[in-house]
Symmetry: C2
Subunit: 204 residues, 2 copies
DNA sequence: GCTGCCGGATGACAGATGTCATACGGCGAA
DNA sequence: TTCGCCGTATGACATCTGTCATCCGGCAGC
């Protein structure tokens, strides 16, 4: 009856990407018309191929799937967006939704949900794992300020205060202040734990 | 001519696992006869289904794909082992080979290499990315002692010296000594960097 | 039987990190 | 307009971390 659904797949690991394409290729009503390996190639590819639904992994070089989703949503609001991720972090779900995503799937969900989600978003539905949705709501919003987040992100690789200060054009004392407040807000005891929990919650 | 190749797929993320199954299902001479999501279910499944080739992801609950490979290699040496991983860490390659793996593939290699590797290992070949092999050789062996590795692994989540000491039944001073030697061996400047580089090299 | 290395420990010291009080300009909400 | 928060900064202080020298018992290799 209706023409096939044109899907774009954005995922950096070729093997996974092509495997997902094979999976979707088994569906009669779905056609993978484009594949990209970088977040910053998504928008152009969506435009070029007249994509109906974009399937976006979060962790990608160039820019994240969430940023790509925001770009597509801004430029072509009719395109449906499915965000697909390894990590079921509530903060990711929240950001994805704010970026205009229509569905949020974790990669350890059954494969059948992928094609199902594609059809549902095209029908105007939103697809979100209820457990994750609950977790996202229960956890509340990111308590970190922009600067705190930046400093924490920069500190994630084990850089010292002096290096952070140089990299962010701040004084060492200020760096310590930000880390200190971040540590308190996250209710942890040092920067390493702060990085860890912020990551887990998708707040980084 | 020859009967189909019986393959087992071990990978914890359902969506990826089933997608890889779909991919391999497109090949006439390959049949995915078993899928497991945990490392500790591999050996039993290999036995039960008379598997020819086991495809093992490294990061899995239960036990790692490398440990699973060692088990299978010990119990059923005729079974060919393909280790598949997200991270092309030279240390992983080294451990995989020591565990008896016949092939080592990274997930960002083209999908076609998967079926190709399955056929090659069955023909007695070994399949290893030459760049990775070079990196593994260039890097040398893991310089960390068992204890240093344990302490570093335990320190990875940001635990303080006191917690590490308690968890590992050591004195705080000893914990600091191990971390200090690990930091020197890895040529870095603090425990966070040590964790980071040890992870990168697959030495953790 | 030495010589090394590993696991384990102590003490001392320097430098890094975390906390707190305090300050100032800007900006948004009440 | 006043209050509060953010970004930025300083100084002082306590604690944590990293380094080093030194020690012990055990065990492997020469």
């Amino acid at each position: 009856m209706s023409p096939t659904i044109k899907v774009l797949l954005a995922e950096d690991q070729s093997m996974v990407r092509e495997a997902l394409a094979a999976l979707l290729g088994l569906e009669d009503d779905i056609e993978v018309v484009a594949q990209v390996a970088r977040g910053d190639e998504v928008l152009a590819a969506v435009r070029e191929h007249g994509v109906d639904v974009a399937l976006l992994d979060i962790e990608m070089p160039g820019c994240t799937g969430i940023e790509a989703a925001a770009q597509v949503h801004g430029a072509l609001p009719a395109v449906k967006l499915v965000v697909l991720t390894t990590f079921g972090r509530p903060g990711y779900l929240r950001s994805a939704m704010e970026a205009g995503a229509d569905a949020f799937l974790v990669k350890d969900a059954p494969a059948a949900q992928l094609a199902a989600a594609v059809r549902k978003v095209l029908a105007g539905e939103r697809v979100i794992d209820p457990t994750l949705a609950a977790a996202a709501l229960a956890e509340g919003a990111n308590p970190l300020t922009d600067r705190e987040r930046e400093v924490l992100r920069a500190a994630a690789d084990g850089s010292t205060n002096a290096e952070l200060a140089a990299a962010l054009h701040l004084s060492q004392g200020t760096v310590r202040n930000y880390l200190s407040t971040a540590i308190q807000k996250l209710a942890v005891r040092n920067r390493a734990e702060a990085v860890r929990t912020a990551r887990e919650k998708g707040w980084l």
